[in-house]
């Protein structure tokens, strides 16, 4: 971990009660969901983290508290620093405040979170699905969502599968 990152982590810890950890020289800060907007604003304005490099989530099902982690990757381009911020979220229908006011590119990332994980992004300007069709049911990247594996057709089960395969009309 770079020495320049230490004051940032200290500031996050004192202001938002962040829980800091480190793994393979990468710093992670776990921040409660009610502080994430303020923390992102502080990171951008006071500490120069001017790019939201990535935003995704991890599902820890069947864990309940927290079930999800929203993972933000912030980047300070001028000082060349990276920081991962994780936000634990409880329950099956978690709510997450939007960061679109601070980082405009959070828009699609948050739509993806809704689409893939079913996070309700509060205050999002365009809360639609992004990757799946609009009428899709379920959120595919949740751990309790099945992979959707279909049985593979080999010579021994060819007929059986062939019968239930849809056949198009000309």
């Amino acid at each position: 971990m770079k020495a320049e990152l230490q004051p940032v982590l200290d500031a996050l810890q004192s202001a938002f009660g962040a829980h800091i950890s480190e793994f393979r020289e990468q710093a992670k800060a776990v921040i409660a969901v009610e502080h994430i907007v303020e923390a992102a604003r502080t990171l951008r304005d006071a500490h120069g983290f001017n790019m939201l490099a990535g935003l995704s989530a991890v599902d820890y099902w069947p864990e309940r508290k927290p079930r999800f982690h929203a993972v933000y990757e912030f980047k300070n381009i001028s000082k060349n620093l990276r920081l991962e911020v994780r936000v634990p979220l409880d329950g099956d229908e978690p709510k997450l405040p939007t960061l679109t006011e601070i980082f405009p590119n959070a828009n699609w990332h948050e739509r993806e979170l809704w689409d893939m994980f079913g996070f309700e992004v509060v205050g999002h300007p365009d809360p639609r699905r992004i990757l799946m069709p609009a009428d899709w049911v379920g959120h595919p990247l949740r751990r309790d969502y099945p992979l959707g594996y279909e049985e593979v057709q080999f010579s021994f089960n060819f007929k059986e599968i062939d019968q239930r395969k849809p056949r198009p009309q000309d």
């Binding site: 793994f23 393979r24 990468q26 992670k28 001017n50 790019m51 939201l52 490099a53 990535g54 995704s56 991890v58 599902d59 993972v71 990757e73 381009i77 060349n80 990276r82 991962e84 980082f103 405009p104 590119n105 828009n107 699609w108 893939m116 300007p125 365009d126 639609r128 699905r129 992004i130 990757l131 799946m132 069709p133 609009a134 009428d135 595919p140 990247l141 969502y145 992979l147 959707g148 594996y149």
Partner: protein, 410 residues
């Protein structure tokens, strides 16, 4: 699912189009998902006032492949096969990002020779990717011969890949801990022949485009954003360097020994389509420089790590050592476990920052593998920079931000 269910209703889009669309004053036009100049299956819903784009609403996901979910069901080694098919113009680069992520997660060493060969291939792949971009971008802007010249040179690179990996595109040549196998003896002369002949080709392309008045008219002053906007929108790669920000992960956060090579980060200040074109043209030469340096000091030695817990032993050892058989069996039936933690590994793909968030759970399968893909992030700025331009300019802008839909939709 019927087609009528796919149609987006007017109400759903009310907040995205201007009020003039409600009265029918402006026209809503659908561009894509099957359109020759959207570079894949991108769908754009355009609100047009005559020929001027008032609003542009991208609709992605037509190539959503479920790769992230599918990788969770495979072991670390098997999941790599999926990474090739993400950004199919940068297959080696995806392998590289994934292998580096796995290596970092399990703390695995990579021999020097493997690192140098990885760099050579990553840069050749960058050239190949830029060639496809240049060919299709120029084709969209009515310079058809470029397409044939560029694809012709791309075949030279694909031949080198096929020689080493046995496949033209989906190589899966890099493996966690090194390479699949060492390069053949013909590799070095083939790469040297390519890097010696390619500079003349670049001059040919520049001769065809740089002073071509049609090309200049359609690219200069189109689709402008400045560096600050680019950073705020998360743009990376040549699309950001075209706006004057010298941000290149090969320099900023070097991986695979990029810090040993002398190359320049190409930037242009204007931030328009032409600047992004110039950045990529200059990157051809920088990539050649890196390949030449890496080839000149290509070290000898093994190309796979000697850590038997993660890398299968060579075939010859299986006949002699019981331990090797056990390792071989364990690795190919079960895979190797990774610690219960996560890492984020960014690399510089031809399109920008390609980041892998890889999380292990102590078992042999990735618990979560998220791909921060440059095309997905870079495409977001399209509605903003296309407002007020002509439909024909939109084609140039889409080409200049160089998206690959496999990368966008994952």
């Amino acid at each position: 699912m019927s087609i009528s269910q796919l149609e987006i209703t007017h109400d759903e889009l009310k907040h995205l189009v201007s009020e003039r669309a409600q009265t029918g004053e402006t026209l809503l036009l659908n561009m894509g998902p099957q359109h020759p100049s959207t570079h894949g299956v991108l769908r754009l819903l355009l609100e047009l006032d005559g020929e001027i784009v008032v609003n542009c609403i991208p609709d992605i996901g037509f190539l959503h492949t479920g790769i992230e979910k599918n990788m969770e069901a495979k072991s670390y080694e098997k999941a790599e096969v999926m990474t090739d098919r993400l950004d199919y113009l940068n297959t080696m680069g995806n392998n590289l990002a994934y292998c580096l992520a796995v290596e970092k997660l399990v703390d695995l060493d990579v021999p020097e020779r493997a690192q140098a060969i990885r760099v050579i291939f990553a840069e050749l792949q960058r050239i190949a990717s830029h060639l496809v971009w240049l060919g299709t971008h120029a084709l969209d802007l009515a310079a058809m011969s470029m397409f044939f010249y560029c694809l012709n040179q791309r075949e030279r690179i694909l031949d080198i890949m096929e020689m080493c990996a046995g496949q033209r595109m989906m190589t899966t040549y890099f493996r966690p801990g090194g390479l699949w196998r060492d390069v053949p003896a013909e590799f070095e002369p083939a790469v040297r022949a390519f890097i010696d002949s390619f500079p003349a080709e670049i001059e040919l392309y520049e001769g065809l485009l740089d002073k071509n008045p049609i090309f200049l008219d359609r690219t200069k002053g189109i689709g402008i954003y400045n560096g600050e906007e680019g950073i705020a929108w998360g743009i990376t790669g040549p699309s950001l360097r075209g706006s004057g920000v010298a941000y290149d992960l090969r320099k900023e956060e070097p991986y695979s020994g990029y810090e040993q090579y002398d190359f320049e980060v190409c930037t242009e200040a204007e931030g328009d389509v032409y600047a992004r074109y110039r950045v990529r043209m200059r990157e051809f030469r920088e990539s050649l420089k890196i390949v030449r340096q890496a080839l000149d000091k290509l070290p000898g030695g093994p190309v796979r790590s000697n850590n038997r817990k993660f890398v299968p032993p060579p075939r010859a050892e299986l006949g002699e050592s019981m331990e090797a058989v056990i390792h071989h069996f364990k690795l190919w039936t079960e895979g190797f476990p990774a610690p219960k933690n996560s890492i984020y590994m960014p690399v510089e793909s031809p399109r920008g920052e390609l980041g892998v968030l890889l999380e292990g759970d102590g078992g042999p399968k990735p618990y979560r593998c998220h791909w921060r893909t440059p095309s997905f992030v870079n495409l977001q700025i399209l509605p903003k920079i296309s407002q007020g331009c002509y439909v024909a300019d939109l084609v140039a802008i889409i080409g200049s931000i160089d998206i690959v839909l496999g990368d966008t939709d994952r």
